[in-house]
Amino acid sequence: MRELVCIVCPRGCHMKVDEDLNVTGNFCPRGAAYAKTELTHPTRVVTSTVRLTGGRYPRCPVKTAGPVPKERVADVMAEIARAEIAAPVRVGDTVLEDVCGTGVAVVATRELL
């Protein structure tokens, strides 16, 4: 039996998962899904910034468009660190199409004109 706290939403359900991946203590199905993923192949959405040229600020915030394997987070950060974009930027603009071969894109999260 494993115990874990759900990080899907601010509710923070305290969940229990047995050997057969049966989840209890979750308020919603997303919790169960999170628990199963967390115990088999944990993932995270990475949020960070990239270098921005020609904008009001020197950085633009970005995120991975979906979750990436938790053990690849450091690699994802490193690839984001090498990226650079130019203003104007709109929310959702693609910064990296496939970060670290995860199949996940990195997108801008702020409009900076």
Binding site: T49, V50, R51, R59, I80, A81, R82
Partner: protein
């Protein structure tokens, strides 16, 4: 060769430089830090004492009373925040009532005007927040509060405007007698001068020893303070002292010219530059202050700080020439801030006695004005913003300080090079959020205007870097 080199640009050094700059002299001021007013001058009670404390007949007594008059006139002339709020010394026992009578007697002998003994009820009628246990008080109408760093800055700026040369980051490492004068070795090279003035504050003992046989020890004494939010600023209207003890003037409670309440200090022996606060010291200050004014809400504290005073264990300043042409202005403990302009005046007199030829300048620029957006009328604000839109952008929300004021202070005779330097000049970051919101904006402005990377911007002294390194593999570690 300079005529006079002044070592130290705190209140005493700045006042001396200003007084000397009235004459046709080549002046050099040496300051070990990157700004003026950063030693004892910036960390004290911000009080201009009336002058009943010093023993009658001492230099301290004379310079205090004279200094109190000069501070009022100079603050007015040089646009330095000053409030003549008066002070009270409280007595809680028969023994302390006796002390008040002694202080009154001393004050009268020292020539302090307007002193008056009040009963406990009379004192409470003027200051309703005083404790019921207050039995009597000595009222001194000529005591005042001031912005100590702005006063020092105004003196130093006046000296610079009138030709004095200020060298920052110029810590003195040695002094040699050379023929007619001295060679002063500093971190910024040597300076030759016919006369040397030692106004080095807590380091005045060390500087003395470079030029003359050892004759006194500075025994630095650290005092810790609370600064409270403006919500507490009107808790008292005047400076509230307790009876002085051997250790000093005791814990005071006072409004500040910036609208806050200041509470402190204790007095503990310390190293010359040890400005750390301690849990015990702060607890002592709090406990003692509540005896005078029980209603102080310490949960409204916005800052603690400590300052080091150049005590010598004697009851007078150490002013005189231990070597020809070398003038000590040493052991300037409380009431040093009040006495500073009078010490400056007296220093000129002593240097003249040493042979310094004094010829007044035809034109001495004795004026200083700065824009305080917050204090302007709506009409004046409108006009100012129309003329220069930078005055429309508020950078420090808590103190309502505009970008225009920050840019203007960067064009003064002694421009700031640090975030705290900006704070001392225009009050940005002095308020309740303590720079939480505006410090990043001030870093940005300094970086832009001084053409420095944000990584080079310092909080206060050289070496106090605000930021460690750029993200995203940018600028290497600095």
């Amino acid at each position: 060769m300079a005529d006079v080199v002044i070592i130290g640009c705190g209140a005493v050094g700045a006042a001396t430089a200003m007084e000397l700059s009235r004459y046709k002299l080549e002046l050099v001021i040496l300051e070990r830090e990157n700004d003026v007013a950063v030693g004892t001058t910036k960390a004290n009670s911000a009080i201009l004492h009336a002058g009943y404390d010093p023993r009658p007949g001492t230099l301290m007594a004379r310079l205090n009373v004279r200094g109190s008059e000069l501070c009022r006139a100079y603050c007015h002339a040089l646009d330095v925040p000053y409030r003549g709020c008066g002070s009270m010394v409280l007595a809680f026992s028969e023994e302390e009532r006796e002390t008040l009578r002694e202080l009154l007697d001393r004050g009268v002998k020292n020539g302090v005007p307007g002193l008056e003994l009040l009963t406990g009820d009379q004192a409470r009628a003027r200051e309703p927040e005083l404790a019921d246990t207050v039995q009597a008080a000595l009222w001194a109408p000529t005591a005042a509060i001031v912005s100590p760093w702005e006063m020092c800055l105004a003196f130093a700026e006046t000296a610079v405007k009138n030709g004095a040369q200020l060298r920052l980051n110029a810590c003195v490492t040695g002094i040699e007698r050379r023929g007619e004068g001295y060679t002063v070795h500093t971190a910024q090279g040597d300076v030759e001068a016919r006369y040397v003035v030692n106004a080095a504050g807590v380091d005045s003992g060390a500087v003395h020893d470079m030029a003359a046989p050892h004759s006194f020890d500075i025994t630095p004494s650290r005092g810790e303070y609370y600064l409270l939010d403006k919500a507490e600023g009107a808790r008292v209207n005047t400076v509230i002292f307790q009876c002085p003890t051997k250790l000093g003037k005791g814990v005071l409670v006072s409004p500040t010219v910036h609208g806050n309440l200041i509470v402190g200090p204790n007095a503990e022996p310390s190293e010359p530059h040890d400005e750390a606060t301690t849990a015990g010291g702060l607890a002592f200050v709090k406990e003692r202050a509540l005896l005078s004014v029980p209603g102080i809400d310490f949960s409204k504290s916005i800052r603690n700080f400590a300052g080091v005073r150049a005590n010598t264990g004697r009851d007078d300043f150490l002013i005189g020439c231990p070597a020809p042409g070398f003038l000590d202005l040493a052991g300037i403990c409380s009431p040093g801030l009040t006495s500073a302009p009078a010490i400056g005046e007296y220093a000129v007199e002593l240097l003249a006695r040493e042979g310094l030829a004094l010829e007044k300048k035809e034109h001495f620029d004795f004026s200083r004005r700065r824009v305080r957006f917050k204090e302007l009328s709506p009409e004046a604000r409108e006009e100012l913003v129309r003329r220069d839109p930078a005055y429309g952008r508020v950078i420090c929300r808590c103190e309502t300080v505009t970008e225009g004021e920050i840019l203007a202070c960067l064009r003064t005779p002694i421009p700031p090079v640090s975030v705290d330097g900006v704070k001392r000049r225009v009050n940005a970051g002095m308020g309740r959020c303590q720079g939480g919101f505006c410090a990043p904006r001030v870093v940005e402005i300094l970086s832009r205007e001084l053409h420095l990377s944000p990584g080079e911007i310092v909080k206060d002294r050289a070496g106090m870097k605000m930021l460690a390194r750029e993200t995203k593999g940018g600028e290497a570690d600095v």
